[in-house]
Point group: C2
Chain length 337, copies 2
């Protein structure tokens, strides 16, 4: 594959296909050395005039957000999501971005692409604003019952991702928990704490809920249940507070600008989608409410991940950490599946 | 016991004893038909002049927030927390309020007072602001691995509490989960969903993270791990955003007032502490950062709970729901301990 080719689900998200197509056009105009592939109902996409480096792959079905993912993938045989994932599998796409059903994208990725060698489970990485730059949180919902080894692999994969986005940045890793002490938390969390501590020098211990936004941790690990709640609560709370204040503030033009600046880190369209780490292929989930700006940013992020060969780096790091088995035995942590 | 007598841990919280004593004095002046008992180091409390209806019980030890709770209760034989709980056990106090170590208060309550008849596990109820009044969340950290029956009992106990605070209010109950569908979540959550649905007509299904603040649910159930994270994240996020905006807004006097009004529901000192539901005695946890206003409100809340005999009501409701065993068998949910 000589040129990078990024696929995008034209049917996914609340504002599809319009905002998806517009976001792709923006990205294509900005990155003329990259190809883009819109996947979805051709007749709907053709309403827009596309740049030369954007092509269409027709897919007749669209999976809705409220459909049970696995069932939808089975019954809708020609969905834009499955079509996109298959093109990644066949190496016809370098990466795939979807703002559609997270469950369907994750399921299709696991079933069709599988995991990178040595990876036990994938995890969704999301980016959160903090008092001091951004923080990454893994997992935001791919794996509801992680075992200790999964947390360790999230730490390794998440670090690779942050290194690509912010080369040279110091990464302090924390484990989301109900207290600072090592004796706190559920059994899997206590065991994960032990394993992380023995394997990673930059593991800084437990993070409590009020420290997520402190900026003291650049990578926060948690199970997919808690991560999903944290993400959705955080997003809704920011928009709840910001909308409440907006009307109050917008009476003054000066304040309006300041407010917009302040609000910026809480605006998800600033971020480039959430990668599913650990999948044998580059797949990103964009927010369901993505506008064209959010889509453009997600496409830029996909290009960045491909250009920096994130999966090559993850595979290497996972291999190097394969001594975890020995360490696990040393620590008498039994579960390793 | 003719007069209500509310005990308060004078040594608990970041601003103890000063703000605790001042908050107690405020409450005592406002409620002259109630007695109050400050429990802690007498010589420190005696710095303030106390109203007639406030007395002191000396306790030589104070448990710090960062001590392992159970160990601290064992080694510090005369802690203000254990002294307060014992006074509740001996019926010398109608209720006990502490802004000290949550872990120590919960542990002492369970060990000394035990559960109300029929109650399997206690749960901490916290109050959260929403777009449409307040919502209660149980459990905020007493029980990290609840079984289905615990969720049902949280629903029953939480409803009793809301009924006392807001008589006649409609209570929609939701189960915190990663999706709306009944097939979502971990195994215990799926089973809890089934049980709640079959037992409670006002159970409205799953609540996602972004719906916590929607105001559509007045009682939200979750495990103590998630509840603890939600509470701490929510609090810290509100203060993070509000502080960031404060300086921007305070240039205008008019906006300053509006902002204060808007900020009010996010200020924990407005609420009256978090009751530990299910304990055979009335015990409330106040926030560690409580100022005197927060303490006064917690004391008022304790009086309200005692006057309305919340534990009598909970016991009654739990008994009525004892048919849960039959329902559980019907549903083939095995675990009931």
């Amino acid at each position: 594959m000589s040129r990078i080719n990024i696929g995008i689900d034209a049917m996914g998200g609340d504002k599809a296909p319009e905002q998806i197509v517009l976001g792709t056009i923006n990205a294509a105009n900005a990155k003329q050395d990259v190809n883009f592939t819109l996947i979805g109902k051709e007749e709907e996409i053709l309403r827009w005039e596309l740049p030369k480096n954007v092509r269409i792959v027709n897919a007749r079905d669209a999976i809705e957000d409220d459909e049970p993912p696995v069932q939808a993938l089975r019954t809708k045989r020609d969905s834009s999501i499955m079509r996109g994932i298959k093109l990644v599998l066949e190496k016809n796409l370098s990466a795939f971005v979807s703002a559609g059903s997270t469950g369907a994208v994750v399921a299709a990725s696991i079933f069709k692409l599988g995991y990178l060698e040595g990876v036990k489970k994938c995890g969704i990485l999301v980016t959160l604003p903090t008092k001091n730059g951004m923080a990454a949180l893994v997992d935001a919902g791919a794996n509801l019952n992680p075992k200790p080894i999964h947390y360790l692999q999230y730490a390794i994969m998440g670090s690779c991702y942050i290194n690509i986005l912010h080369p040279g940045k110091e990464i302090n890793i924390g484990l989301l928990n109900v207290g600072e002490e090592t004796t706190k938390g559920t059994e899997p969390i206590k065991q994960a704490h032990k394993l992380l501590k023995s394997c990673l020098t930059n593991f800084k211990g437990n993070v409590e809920g009020h420290e997520i936004l402190s900026g003291n941790f650049q990578l926060i690990l948690c199970d997919g249940f808690v991560g999903n709640i944290v993400l959705k609560l955080g997003e809704s709370m920011a928009s709840f507070l910001m909308n409440g204040l907006k009307s109050m503030i917008e009476s003054s033009i000066e304040l309006k600008d300041k407010f917009r600046e302040f609000n910026k880190p809480f605006d998800f369209s600033e971020y480039g989608g959430a990668p599913i780490l650990g999948i044998n292929g580059t797949v990103l989930i964009a927010h369901g409410r993505s506008d064209n700006r959010a889509i453009t940013n997600a496409l830029f992020n996909a290009i960045n991940m491909v250009q920096n060969d994130i999966n090559g780096k993850i595979s290497e790091e996972i291999k190097q950490h394969s001594l975890w088995k020995r360490i696990q035995k040393m620590l008498n942590i039994v579960d390793e599946s």
